[in-house]
Structures are given as structure tokens and as C-alpha cells.
């Protein structure tokens, strides 16, 4: 008895709560409503996990039992595993320097941890911009995995001086050094950004960059950005940040050490990675587009076979269909200049009238079914008869 009673009670209480809170604006109702929305989103996420496991299970069973067309299931599972591997583990993606990550503003910027060029040793970080609008930066607090952040704590009222060395490559890209402050929630403080004058560094020698700022009230962290703007290559090395009476505050300013757990960072970091993007652009997009494009052929064939003026109603349908088809394309306007307006009239009035009737029917049906579920009259969703 409880197996049916408890779900029915939950359904009744939830249904009544949602109904009442919609019409009665009260903070308790609002809070409960927000909580329910969060639950729905969590359930939605679980539903995706369930869908993925179901896909795996169904196809695996088909292969195991060698059912009809089991070969397609092999292709499905292999594709599934490849996408998960490439999307989550990101093979081939380079290791980052410890405490630094890439804050990329545009897709035309790439960042590298360079092991061949350096000022005092053979390591530095490089940014490569491939368009005039390219913009990006290496930063100690970047948009990726927090475990690889090189946190610099800041005290309000304290003066901080940051220096870095930059070297140019081919192109006209400009380098700049930026210092900004964040509060203890990690939010950027207003008017707290100081940027050095952008320069095009020489390819032969290292150009010093320097920026100084006083931490404003509420500052808890400092963020350093090594910025590139434009087309070309720029190397950065020997980043130092100092406050009076303190040694350099920068983690791994010479870029000699690598991040501690690149595998974990790739797994937990957001974003899709270049491999996933490549597979999406070059496999999924053409396949999906091809499948959808096939519809045009089948629709043409179906129209030829079924659009017959067999009855007066079918004749009206046929004439209207031809008018709407012609009204949708410029050639229709060339045949008769008012064709688009006639087509639009059919869309706006007769079609809407019919559609509205259907919508009212569906809405009334939904309300009736919802009431039956809330009141426990409709029980088929609980299973059994």
C-alpha cells in the first residue's frame, strides 16, 4: 500500500505547492520554488547519465548476442569511447607550466610552454596570434582548473610592482603586462586594472615590462596577465612581483617547473579541447548535415507520390501548398509580385486559426491530465494497471 501511497502523496503535495506558489507571491514559496528548480536541473543531469549508460548497455547487449545489424552497434560504441577519450582526457594537449594557464580571448591565439627559448634558462611561455584581432594572455589566475593557479595574496593599501621580460618574433603583435586585484570571492574589483604601455618587443633582445599599482580596499588576490594583441609571436620570461619587504610573490616566474597533475587538470577542466572540436567539426557536423539533407530528396519523392487532387479538399491543399512554396522563394515573386504576401496571409490567418484550435485542445488535455495525476486519479505513471 505504501508503495503507491507515498508517491501519490509526493505528487499531490508537490503539485499543490507549485500551483499555490504560482498565484501567491511569498518568500517561502519563492525559496521552495527555487529549490525545486535546482532539483529538476540535478535530475536532468542524472537523466543524461542514465541515457549514456542506457546507450552503452543496449548496444553492448546487441553485440554480445550478435543480433541483427550488430556491426552498427560496434561502430556506435567505438565512436562513443573515442569521443569520451578525446573530450575528457585530451590526448596530445601540452602540459602547462606550474601556476600558469592561458586566458584566451579569441580563438586565433595559441599558448605554448616553450622549452627552447628563455632569458636566463631555456624555458619561457609563448603566445602566438594568427590574426590582427587576436588577443590572449598567460595568467596566474586563469579560467581553468584552480589547482594550477599561482595564487598571489594581496593586502589592501600595499603597493605591488610587477616586472616581466618579453621578446618578439615574426609579426607585429604587441606585448603588455597587466596587474589587477580580486576580492576574496575571486571577483574582479572595479577600476583595479593597471596595464603597461603595449610595445612591440624586439626579436633580438628581451624587452622589460613593468607595472605598479596599490591594492584597493577589499583586495585579497592579485592577478598578473602577460598579454598579446595582434598578429605574431611573443615570448615572456622572468616574471617577478614584489611588495615592500617581501621576496618575489610569483610562483614559477621563470617557467621552469611543470604543473603537478596534467591528467587530472585535463579531466576536470572545462572546455572541450582541440581534439574534441576537430571531431565535432569534421565528423559530426558533416554526418548530421548529410542525414538532414537526405530529407529534401525524400520529401520531393513523397510530394510527387501523394500530392494528388483526388478530392476537393486535397485540391485546396495542393493549391495552397504550391502558393506557399512559391511565396517562400524569390522566384515566386518573379512569377507574381504579390506571391510572398499571399503566402504570408495563408501562414498568418487560416493556418493560425487551425493551429490555435489544436493548441487549445492540447492545453485543456494537459490540464485535465495534470489534475488527474495531482489528485491521484491517474496512476499509470506508477506502473502496473
Amino acid at each position: 500500500m505504501l508503495r503507491k501511497f507515498i508517491p501519490l502523496l509526493i505528487g499531490f503535495l508537490t503539485g499543490m505547492f507549485m500551483f499555490v506558489q504560482f498565484f501567491v507571491p511569498h518568500y517561502v514559496g519563492e525559496a521552495g520554488y527555487t529549490l525545486v528548480l535546482d532539483w529538476v536541473r540535478v535530475v536532468g543531469a542524472f537523466a543524461m547519465v542514465l541515457a549514456v549508460s542506457s546507450l552503452f548497455q543496449v548496444n553492448w547487449d546487441k553485440i554480445r548476442r550478435k543480433q541483427r545489424d550488430w556491426g552498427y552497434s560496434v561502430v556506435t560504441l567505438i565512436s562513443f569511447i573515442v569521443m569520451v577519450y578525446v573530450g575528457m582526457l585530451r590526448p596530445g594537449e601540452p602540459v602547462l607550466p606550474l601556476g600558469w594557464g592561458l586566458d584566451r580571448q579569441s580563438e586565433s591565439v595559441q599558448g605554448f610552454w616553450d622549452h627552447r627559448v628563455g632569458r636566463t634558462d631555456s624555458t619561457s611561455v609563448r603566445l602566438t596570434g594568427s590574426s590582427l584581432t587576436a588577443s590572449g594572455a598567460w595568467s596566474n589566475r586563469w579560467s581553468g582548473w584552480q589547482r594550477n593557479w599561482g595564487n598571489i595574496t594581496a593586502a589592501p593599501g600595499q603597493r605591488y610592482a610587477v616586472t616581466a621580460q618579453a621578446r618578439g618574433g615574426e609579426g607585429t603583435a604587441k606585448a603588455a603586462l597587466a596587474l589587477t586585484f580580486l576580492n576574496n570571492k575571486g571577483e574582479h574589483l572595479p577600476r583595479a586594472l593597471t596595464t603597461s604601455q603595449p610595445v612591440t618587443p624586439s626579436p633580438q633582445t628581451w624587452t622589460p615590462l613593468r607595472v605598479e599599482a596599490v591594492a584597493p580596499a577589499g583586495a585579497a588576490f592579485a592577478q598578473i596577465s602577460l598579454q598579446l594583441e595582434g598578429n605574431g609571436k611573443i615570448w615572456f620570461d622572468d616574471v617577478q612581483a614584489a611588495a615592500p619587504g617581501a621576496a618575489s610573490l610569483v610562483t614559477n616566474g621563470s617557467f621552469t617547473a611543470g604543473e603537478r597533475s596534467p591528467g587530472l587538470r585535463k579531466l576536470f577542466d572545462t572546455g572541450d579541447g582541440p581534439g574534441f572540436q576537430w571531431l565535432f567539426d569534421n565528423v559530426l557536423v558533416p554526418l548530421d548535415s548529410t542525414m538532414f539533407a537526405l530529407l529534401a530528396f525524400f520529401m520531393a519523392s513523397a510530394a510527387y507520390r501523394t500530392f494528388r487532387a483526388r478530392t476537393p479538399e486535397a485540391t485546396v491543399l495542393l493549391i495552397v501548398a504550391v502558393i506557399v512554396m512559391l511565396g517562400r522563394v524569390p522566384v515566386g515573386e518573379m512569377i507574381y509580385h504579390r506571391m510572398p504576401q499571399v503566402s504570408e496571409w495563408f501562414m498568418m490567418w487560416p493556418t493560425v486559426a487551425a493551429k490555435r484550435g489544436i493548441l487549445f485542445g492540447v492545453a485543456l488535455g494537459s490540464i485535465a491530465t495534470s489534475l488527474r495525476i495531482i489528485l491521484g486519479i491517474e496512476r499509470s505513471h506508477l506502473g502496473g494497471k
Binding site: E30, R104, S106, F292, Y304, P330, V331
Partner: protein
Amino acid sequence: MQTLARLLTIDRRWIFLFIGLAVLVPFLTGLKFLQGTPTPATLAVFNYIDQLPPGSVVAIGFDYGPAGMPEMHPMAMAIIRQCFQRHLRVVALTIHPQGPLMAEAAFNRVRGDYKAKYGQDYVNLGFKPGGQAVILGIGSGIRNVYPTDMRGTPLSALPVMRGVRTYDDIAILIDLATGNAPGAWIAFGHQRFKVKMAIGITAVMATDFYVYYQTGQLVGILNGMRGAAEYENLVKHPDVGVLGMSSQSVAHLVIIVFVLLGNIGYFASRAHRRKQGGMA
């Protein structure tokens, strides 16, 4: 009469061949038909965005995948183009799992022409599962649903999101969709939170949504590839939408010709049968 009746049995491979040629030839030859006056539904969306003051927020729902690209992508690019021309902030979000990459592709195609910067002029918030719950959640606070953007940057760190908290801060939400997402956005986003809305949909879906346009619940509708082509012309940047309309023009003509042939064959065959019946 018997010869005409044979029109009833054209091998469908001929139809496939003609449709294939109808689509391909205009693309390969660059054949263009002059686009006439835009439909009022398209013009309404353009005019609404055009009168927004600079800095206003235009949210675009990228609720489509690669299958919908031919129709939806030209619309997306034309709308983004207009927003960048008018210095409006663009916020992309989606309840379709493939939507975030569609948004990335659209921004990548357009942003270079206007030197638009990620985080300052536009942002991609990405996908959240939950459909209606996501739409309703934005009404309570966009940061509750999207604490970070697609790349993991907190929204508070993005200048483009400054002052954007709920639907009240969004000037217009344009949902570009191939499924039933616009229905949910209209029912829960517009009706409950009164956000101004427009939609861009595939031509086959249009009949479902003119109802909402006629009642004023939607500012306007971009209807299929025609809507995309009209919008491209309105932003004075004819692109793949305009080119696609030539293919669609010829393809529609081919389908109409085959439908006519089928009907000629049908009437000829009926007349032939009657004649034979009369003789018997």
C-alpha cells in the same frame, strides 16, 4: 492518354537526380535571384534590435545542432553581425547539448570583422541540462544557473555580464531552434518573466509558432532560410543564406513540376480507366 498515364510511375531516382542538380547547380554557378521586400515578421526583429541603445544585452539561444546549420547558422551570424555593428552585448546560451559549439562557430565567423572581444562584447555561457528548469532558473538569477561561462570563467569576471542578473536586464532573447525549445522559452521565459522574445526556426516549424507572433508574444520570426536571407540583406552582408535561397528556389520549382506531372499522370490514368470501363 496511356503515355501521359506513365507519368504516374516516374522512377524516384530521377526525382533524386533532379533535386540534387537543383541544389548543386545554383551553388556551383553562383546563380542569384533578387530578393524582394522582407516579410514583416523578419523586419520586426531587425527594427527592434536596431533601436536598442548601445550596450543593451541581446541573448541568443543556440538551440540547434549541425542538422539545422543550413537554415539557423546564417540567421545567427546575421544577428550577431547586427549586434556588433550596433555595439550591443551578445550573450549566447543553450538548452541543446550541441548548441555551445554552434555558438562558437558563429562567433568565430563574425567577430574578426568587428574586432569584437570575448568577455567584453560577447560571451558563450554554454549548455545546461534541465530544459524548462534552466529557463525558469534564469528568471531567479542567471548566475544561479550559469555561475561560469563555457570556459569556466566566473560571470563576475566578465565585463560583458556586468549588470546582467535576470531577464529584466536582457533587451531581447532570440531563440534559434530546430526543436520544441522556442515553445518552452515562450511559455516560461516570456509569459512568466515578460522577456521580449523573437525566434528563428526552420521553415517546417513555422506554422507552429505564427500563433505566438500574431498575439504579440513574439516580436518577430525568422522563418527558415528565407528569414535568414532577408536578415543578411537587412544587415547589408549577403552571405550563405542568400546563396542558399537560389538553391531553394530551383528545388521548389522542381518539386512543383514533379507534383504537376504526378497529377497529370493521375488524371490521364483516371480518364484511361473510365474509357476502358465505358468500352467494357
